[in-house]
Symmetry: C2
Subunit: 432 residues, 2 copies
């Protein structure tokens, strides 16, 4: 199956495509990823471990897996989970069609879990040998927003140096405390960094480090780079990463992650006119109005033919109908999206904009009949497939100010519906 | 003016009222707060410094000021801002009716700004003397969620020890780097803490520390506790704070802060029935249904009389009307809320639930006339006053399953409208 490219925070990647292609070519060795996901998530204050917390109908860990799946030079992904989460993890992999993902049991500590994952990369089922990767990337399941170009940097540095890790400036001053709970001293902030993920290692380096390290390291240690230095003499290259590397730790971080994904999904929309002059005029006005609300709008006449590419890259569609309460246009769009499995990873929004009254005023106040009920029925079915359908009705006016205000209102509501993606409001026919 | 009590994350405080009263009594000395707010916010990736970024129609710094205003034993608040933000800050103070807030010019570094704020507490206008506080709390303008009981802990420890500060466990391993960008060593995570805000000082301690410290401290230092230790020999007591102390640093933190405030505002609602039996029945059904969606609902017949307290403590109102499309009930509610200035600090939601068709089926399908237009007009006016009005229409059914499904739908939509607080959707008459 072809997977849609993630838009938005990945569009920056697209703009750097040339660099990427160069990068891709230079990764001519096998690379694998280990994602420790055995944490209990006690710091979020939630019952569910944070990697399994869901937003926009998908668990956090699936977003992270998707991030690595999008990278063409990464061959395989090992997810390490606690025994009790195994079924849940298998279900997530199945549900969101993740490929090349192997699930491994975690150990009692972070290092034991990572070692299990690393080992699985060289051992097949039942302990048989398997072609091991040259470089292994270790990343947290709860850092969903790592970008390909940063993974490339870590991977290349790891290949050259044996080990590499992401760092970030310290946000707070770090202080040493006395046993009695008083200030002992504060650290010179410029000399220290926060060690983050991802980290990369030549496979043999991290494997040997784990084979050689002590029980105490396994029990209390937290830093893989430290093990590589202490047990293999490998001095890790440190690379400053972007703030998006942050770790989803608290409940508020889930809200932040959701808002990042929503923003990513809400940067553009595709308006389909069906080709009529009046619909095109409205679509062009909407395009102008929505661009002032920071939403980029493409106007096309049909989702088929040359414009079919919108189907595979866009998360938001607006269908303009003029004097026709027939839902077949929206229904066709829905079928096309369902057929392309477009809403597998993210909810897709369809807004049906229904313009009443033609320019010559011949049917200026066509009454609504069964539309609200039909609309609701259509939307209820679509929601089951992760497609959110809303309607907006507006009346044509020859009076320029009134008309401008109506268009402005449609634009505002469309942007709000796209950004909020509220499942409870699907099927509503709103008034502009 | 009486200010409404903030609900939600403060309700935990209310539950600890006894402890608080004890606490309040023990603060029998003057306490003041200095809020450095001169940062440029370059890390958020936004043009506006983060303390002035707005969510739910209010800048972040106003939330922080409000947090301190709610504490009865804090006498005065000094906000230190950059010269170019002075007008903006005065406007915020005026717009949100903040009291006892003095605005002071910042210096070129964090320490210089804080010292300006500290100095202002003992100097009146034009350098005249002023009764200085016993304890001064220093807090960041970008940490809006500090709770009263934690402020009390810091204040009492500062009074006893001379200095006290909030700490948090380190989220990441801290590492020392070599000049060439390689790992030097990693710190033993258990021995170190992140130094956070608030911090508290006996006034003379922090004042003298700043008078005695060097130009280099002023220029490059970041830690007030360090100055108190070095220049006054005052050893700060360190107290572990809750995760809500976190600092709004990146754009994603603004989304997290907004989600915390929204959640706080969306924990309960008040359903007003007007007293009719049928409305009361619907209200009770809604109460049951919304409680399964984690929303606590109070059913009352009128906002006046004994139930008037709902007006001053609730952020969400649902008005149930039966077979009456008259908006006077919603209008009256709106006037009462406007008169009480209830939407000054947070947007208030009113949902008008309009039940069509009586139990005996006498007017089962009363057609809608001018309601949508009247509803929109009412809502447009209300929005200017930060009150968000939405409508939901449902038809009575004698068929229990259908009826149950309609009520369930009203409950779901009400919860979604309350949680999303979308300004673009006010005035809409939705269908359940």
């Amino acid at each position: 199956m072809d997977r849609p490219v993630e838009p938005g925070h990945f569009s920056a990647c697209e703009a750097r495509l040339d660099k990427h292609i160069a990068g891709r070519c230079s990764v001519d060795f096998p690379v694998a990823v280990v994602l420790p996901a055995g944490g209990s998530g006690e710091r979020t204050g939630l019952l569910t471990p944070k990697q399994f917390c869901t937003f926009l109908n998908r668990p956090l860990i699936s977003y992270t897996i998707q991030t690595f799946e999008r990278v063409p030079w990464i061959q395989s992904i090992v997810v390490v989970v606690a025994k009790e989460s195994l079924d849940l993890m298998m279900d997530i992999i199945h549900r969101f069609h993740h490929r090349n993902v192997q699930v491994v049991h975690g150990g009692s500590t972070r290092h034991r879990s990572i070692f299990n994952g690393v080992r699985a990369l060289s051992e097949g089922e039942g302990g048989t040998a398997r072609v091991k990767p040259k470089v292994v990337i270790i990343h947290d399941a709860v850092r969903p927003f790592v970008e390909e170009d940063f993974l490339l940097k870590i991977t290349m540095a790891a290949k050259e140096q044996g080990a590499a890790g992401a760092i970030r400036p310290l946000v707070s001053t770090v202080i040493a405390t006395t046993l009695e709970g008083y200030l002992d001293h504060s650290l010179e902030r410029t000399m220290y960094r926060a060690s983050e993920m991802p980290q990369g290692f030549i496979y043999d380096v991290i494997y040997q480090a784990y084979q050689r390290c002590s029980e105490s390291d396994f029990e209390f240690g937290t830093e893989c780079l430290h093990l590589a230095l202490q047990y293999c003499g490998t001095n890790a290259k440190l690379i400053e990463g972007p703030p998006t590397l942050w770790k989803v730790t608290y409940k508020r971080d889930l809200a932040a992650a959701e808002s990042i994904v929503k923003e990513t999904l809400s940067q553009s929309a595709c308006v389909v006119t069906g080709g009529s002059a009046q619909a095109t005029e409205l679509a062009n006005a909407l395009q102008k109005s929505m661009s002032t609300l920071d939403m980029e709008v493409d106007v096309i006449s049909d989702l088929m033919g040359d414009d079919a590419k919108s189907l595979s890259k866009e998360w938001n569609f607006i269908r303009v109908s003029v004097n026709s309460s027939c839902f077949s246009e929206v229904g066709k769009m829905l079928s096309a999206l369902e057929e392309a499995d477009r809403a597998l990873l993210h909810p897709v929004v369809i807004i049906w904009v229904y313009l009443i009254g033609s320019e010559d005023g011949s049917s200026a106040s066509e009454p609504m009949g069964g539309e609200p009920a039909a609309m609701m029925e259509l939307a209820t079915g679509a929601k089951l497939g992760n497609i959110l359908v809303y309607g907006i009705q507006l009346h044509h006016s020859k009076e320029a100010t009134l008309w401008g205000r109506s268009v402005e209102k449609v634009a505002q509501m469309s942007c709000a519906l796209i950004r909020d993606r509220s499942p409870a409001l699907t099927g509503q026919l709103l008034q502009a």
